[in-house]
């Protein structure tokens, strides 16, 4: 079996030009692999670069050195060097990302916010609509809210809409940045079930979870990010 994700020699620093070119080292020489069905949890204190690393894998942050290989069928795509067009296809067909925050679009209803993520990844409109409803029900978002845009929802409700978006398509790679941060115990348990189901289906997951209980239940193994702290020059 081939890994779905392979990081090799990944380094990243931010150069803050508005702060006189100050350099902020994020991570240095990161290397690990994720196999299908594995959930690798990134560990380490806040500020150690966990979220940044996840964003590098998604192509949201650029990678200065090294390679981030994500398997698309039989080929590996190097996120560090791929053309934007290739990245757009990779995100549509292979790699999903669930952040803590929902980026709301004015006027679009909750059910459609979720269903559109499914349609974008190739589900038929009917299937996307049905799955969106199932996921929202499962995540205890009351049906009377489905036709409203989520702009006025509470933090926890918005997060659940965001999770539904992330889980609607059966993508083989899933990146989770604290998906349970503002959820109650009931909904945390639902997210754990969703993650377990995806692992069984062969999805490769990289996740960040501050909640120890969730982490212990979903982690195949923990990668300690402090290992990759940039070495002092």
């Amino acid at each position: 079996m081939q890994p779905l994700i392979k990081l090799n020699g990944v380094s990243k620093a931010f150069t803050l030009h508005l702060r006189g070119g100050m350099k902020l080292d994020v991570v240095d020489d990161v290397g690990f692999e994720v196999m299908p069905g594995e959930c690798v949890v990134l560990g380490g204190p806040s500020g150690s670069g966990k979220s940044s690393l996840l964003k590098i894998v998604y192509g949201n942050y650029r990678c200065d050195h090294g390679s981030v290989l994500v398997r698309d069928g039989d080929d590996y795509v190097d996120v560090a060097t791929a053309e934007p067009r290739r990245m757009i296809a990779l995100r549509r067909d292979v790699m999903g990302y669930v952040s803590q925050f929902l980026r709301v679009i004015p006027r679009v209803s909750t059910i459609d916010v979720v269903a559109s993520a499914g349609r974008d990844s190739g589900l038929s409109p009917e299937v996307a609509q049905a799955r969106a409803g199932e996921l929202l029900s499962r995540l205890n978002v009351p049906e009377r809210l489905w036709d409203l845009p989520p702009a006025t929802f509470s933090g926890g409700e918005q997060q659940r809409v965001n999770i539904a978006r992330g889980f609607i398509a059966d993508l083989p790679v899933l990146l989770l940045d604290e998906p349970t941060a503002s959820l109650d115990a009931t909904n945390r348990a639902v997210v754990v079930e969703l993650i377990e189901a995806r692992k069984k289906a062969g999805t490769a997951i990289i996740g960040i979870f501050h909640d120890e209980d969730v982490r212990d239940r979903v982690a195949s193994r923990v990668v300690d990010v402090t290992r990759f702290a940039a070495k002092a020059a």
């Binding site: 030009h17 964003k55 949201n60 650029r62 004015p106 006027r107």
Partner: protein, 257 residues
């Protein structure tokens, strides 16, 4: 993989001693939305004019893949061919709707005119299609015989969209389509554009100084300064991890609501 729809190589345009646009190259594929951002005077509107062949370049080439898959050099196209392309396979949505619409003509006429350019002749069909498009851009079809002079800014902009999309173009140029409108009107228009672009699989080149508009609508982005492209990439990558000093300044200057 298919070849690009629109290809530009080494485009340059000078106004006097000043380079309005210098050495710009790009490829645009079907279904792709490319945002060109930068401040006033950065050359982004000049570039749009060059791509749409409304302005002739001092150097460089623009190629377009026609519906029969033939790729042609647009600068050698005859004037009649060029105008036909503009009226059928392309759309151009302007910041100032009065320049994109024919103001003395009724709303229905504005939409119907483009249909007639692609050969529609049956009055009843043209009117029915015009009504259908007015509804799609959320204009009451009862206003079909009214002049756009009686429309609000947001309605005029929506009418301009209907006029441009009725011929099912493959490529649409947009120049600051939501600037100068109230925020609520802007949100409605953005949502409409976003939905139609996705539904119709349009390729779009959109010029905007508004980074939020670029984030909402575009897949990838080019940042211009002094006539040059200084940074390109995926839209979220350029906005969340800007590399160039000028892009960092642009991104950090946006007020978060």
């Amino acid at each position: 993989m298919t070849s690009p729809l629109l290809t530009a190589r080494g485009l340059a345009k000078n106004y006097g001693p000043r380079a309005a646009c210098a050495d710009v190259s790009l490829d645009l594929y079907e279904g792709e939305v490319l945002a060109i951002v930068g401040e006033s005077g950065s050359g982004k509107s000049t570039l749009l004019g060059l791509l749409a062949t409304e302005t002739s370049p001092d150097a460089g080439e623009v190629h377009y893949r026609f519906r029969d898959d033939e790729v042609r050099d647009l600068l050698t196209l005859g004037e009649a061919e060029r105008r036909l392309l503009m009226r059928t396979d392309w759309g151009f949505i302007r910041q100032d709707a009065t320049q994109g619409l024919r103001m003395p003509v009724s709303a229905g006429g504005n939409v119907g005119e483009r249909l007639m350019a692609v050969g529609a002749r049956h009055y009843g069909n043209i009117r029915a299609t015009a009504e259908d498009w007015l509804a799609r851009v959320e204009i009451d079809p009862g206003r079909i015989d009214d002049s756009p002079k009686t429309f609000s800014g947001g309605m005029r902009q929506r009418l301009q969209i209907a006029r441009n999309l009725v011929t099912q173009p493959r490529l649409v140029f947009m120049d600051e389509p939501t600037s100068g409108l109230d925020v609520s009107v802007q949100a409605r228009l953005l949502d409409l554009i976003r939905t139609l672009v996705a539904e119709l699989g349009l390729a779009v080149v959109i010029v905007t100084h508004d980074l939020a508009v670029a984030r909402l609508l575009s897949h990838r982005m080019m940042v211009m300064k002094g006539g040059r492209v200084i940074e390109t990439g995926l839209t979220d990558q350029v906005l969340d991890d800007p590399r160039e000093p000028y892009t960092q300044l642009l991104v950090s200057s946006v007020l978060a609501a």
